[in-house]
Symmetry: C2
Subunit: 415 residues, 2 copies
């Protein structure tokens, strides 16, 4: 994919009506004259706006950038008000499920290679939900709000969600009872086959379209060796308004941790979002994509890693063994910089040698050059290997070459 | 240096009173309850806030991130409302001018290596200005506002600035006349020497301190081979409130271009900013730094480069020569991905071969694998070198090895 960048703020109206209940979490900018602006809530809506504005017919892009949510931060869960997302989306008119399967594959690849332990990709289809709702008698105007109740099922027991649907969302008890056997279903290809046999679903157009999509998706995911990761899960609804087809969400399965980070990736198909920004444009631009919650992944990785991570890239430190050498240090430093080495020295005129060497050890700098008047008079400096504390004398004339040789060999691991 | 990240918004109060006249360009967030926030205007103030909040005594960091200015964008000049800055700062109590000289050196290195043509680094000292103002009789409460008039001298003739000082800033004509001979001075080491001999400056403490700093800075810059880039320029004032010592600004000298991009880097010493965020902390943390206007540099580079820049990294494209091969394509694609290749294919089931090969050429993808039923029956695929359009038959068994060999050799330049 190619990468693009979009501004951190969008016109307020671009974000309006895209995020369901979560619209309240959008940060607005103050009206200081000019356009009304808001900070982006995700990378999907800005992407669709970009595709529309630039009249793009097809594009495959990734975008790693920060998004903003006016929420309570929960640091240990990797939930912040400002956080990175990494999105991958495929926009364009293509054959069913080929782009969708690639998104599922990419999620599986990223999670496997990140080494965050076992995971599964929960998967459902918005049109299957629509079909089920129709078949069970949920009124059309309540689809979205019933979706948002459903979405709580991963954290809330069914009894409670059932009560919410009846008492708050105003569904009949009978409707909910008709929904119940479906909603709790999850499985794999065999579940797809079971649903595909159900007479009442066979007669519903949305359900049939969804099941045909799912058949293809399972077939492709099988070839891409990721079907073992998939859990076809009829309670997955995802809160965002813009999804129109396949939806999925990756969750980590490691139950050892005290706190679950919940979903670490999610996405789905949104075929109408680009069109919303330019209703006059005849050609629709169907899209499917995935968003990786990189900060949640990092919060998991950080709880596992105890290694000290080196935060600088300095290759060589120029130290002085005694007073009065700061100009000579600058001169050698300048030679190192001009030769392309990453080099530094103390910003004190007459630093103590011990302090300089301690700095090198603390910052895991592999080499130090130690200047002394006696050695300099002989055209020589000391070259110290910091980890082993071994020192050798090197002719100033051959210093750059010596360093180049040594640094091309692996010394300290650069993490 | 190490790198750090700070949030895109700060508490409004953190930014207040730091930017002089430019405070009006700060984007505020709407008051939606909770803290009053504003988008960062630069990376310097957030850095100082970070050093203060984390009780850091010394740090050398760079930060490449976006800043926000509620200004009229001028695209051709590389002036945007959202743009990247690249800052490098050294915080800590050190000996005079060693960190400052490194900042000047870094500016010169970056501008030389970026290949944006000739440039100079204009340089001055806030305390020299303070001393001059005192000596010439500018009232202390008018120092800042006179600085902001001075700062216009690079774009505005002296007559106009003079009129502004008298009519708008309320200086006496005599005061301005006393300032005049100094303000128009610029030069190098010889100018420093001339000023150092002036009796009235010798008697002013601020001027003496500044001149001693400048003497050291010239000496260090000479060793670092950048003194030929420096223009000691008494009209340089820089608008920001927080500078306390050496200030500098890099400007491009290429006059061929129709439009001047103006300053492409700037910075200076700000010894009191960290302390402003925690007045109770006894230890001051003096700082010096530089901000590189990377987008302005890019706008200059873009006017010079006509090369088509490749925007993807795909190494191999899996194409089908005829209908009915999409499952086989997925299978080979999956093998390529699992083997670590950057590979893609068409998201259409039965794309035309010509369309697939055109895609490769347009996107500068070096290789295509072409599948056909006949070849597959013989355990073979065609491997096509896109630039030369040469094709060879390769056994499927050895395809990965063949590709690995070819891709380790330079094929197309990856820009």
């Amino acid at each position: 994919a190619i990468t693009i960048d979009t501004p951190v703020f969008e016109l307020k109206e671009v974000l309006t009506g895209k995020y369901g209940d979560d619209t309240k979490l959008i940060y607005d900018l103050k009206d200081q004259g000019g356009e009304l602006l808001a900070l982006r809530y995700d990378l999907t809506v800005p992407f669709a706006r970009y595709v529309s504005m630039n009249n793009i017919a097809n594009i495959k892009r990734y975008h790693i950038a920060k998004v903003y949510r006016r929420d309570n931060p929960q640091i240990t869960l990797g939930r912040y008000r400002e956080f990175y997302q990494c999105d991958f989306d495929i926009a364009g008119t293509y054959d069913p499920m080929l782009p969708d399967a690639e998104c599922v594959k990419i999620v599986c690849e990223i999670l496997s290679e990140a080494g965050v332990g076992e995971f599964k990709v929960r998967l459902n289809h918005r049109k299957l939900l629509t079909g089920l709702f129709e078949v069970c008698g949920v009124p059309a105007e309540k689809f979205r709000s019933v979706c948002s109740s459903l979405d709580k099922l991963d954290k809330t027991p069914w009894d409670e969600v059932r009560r919410e649907m009846i008492e708050q969302k105003g569904l009949d008890e009978e409707t909910v009872d008709r929904l119940t056997p479906y909603i709790t279903l999850h499985g794999g290809l065999e579940l797809y086959k079971q649903l595909a046999e159900e007479e009442q679903l066979k007669r519903n157009r949305d359900a049939c379209e969804a099941l045909e999509d799912l058949r293809l998706l399972f077939q492709y995911c099988d070839i891409l060796n990721v079907s073992n990761r998939i859990s076809f899960d009829l309670s997955l609804a995802r809160g965002l308004d813009y999804y129109t087809g396949v939806i999925y969400e990756a969750v980590l399965l490691d139950t050892d941790r005290e706190l679950s980070v919940g979903s670490v990736a999610g996405g789905g198909r949104y075929d109408n979002l680009v069109g919303m920004f330019n209703p006059k444009r005849k050609q629709q631009v169907p899209c499917v994509g995935v968003s990786i919650g990189v900060e949640r992944l990092f919060s998991v990785l950080e709880t596992r890693s105890f290694a000290q991570i080196r935060t600088n890239e300095t290759e060589v430190y120029v130290a002085s063994a005694h007073k009065g050498l700061h100009l000579k240090r600058l001169e050698i430093l300048n030679q190192l910089w001009n030769a392309g080495f990453m080099a530094e020295h103390s910003y004190k005129r007459n630093p103590k040698l011990l302090a300089q060497l301690q700095y090198c050890e603390e910052h895991q700098i592999p080499y130090a050059i130690i200047l002394g008047a006696d050695e300099l008079a002989r055209g020589i400096v000391k070259l110290r290997e910091i980890p082993s504390r071994k020192e050798v004398e090197v002719m100033l004339d051959t210093l750059m070459e010596e360093l180049r040789c040594r640094l091309s060999l692996p010394t300290l691991p650069l993490l």
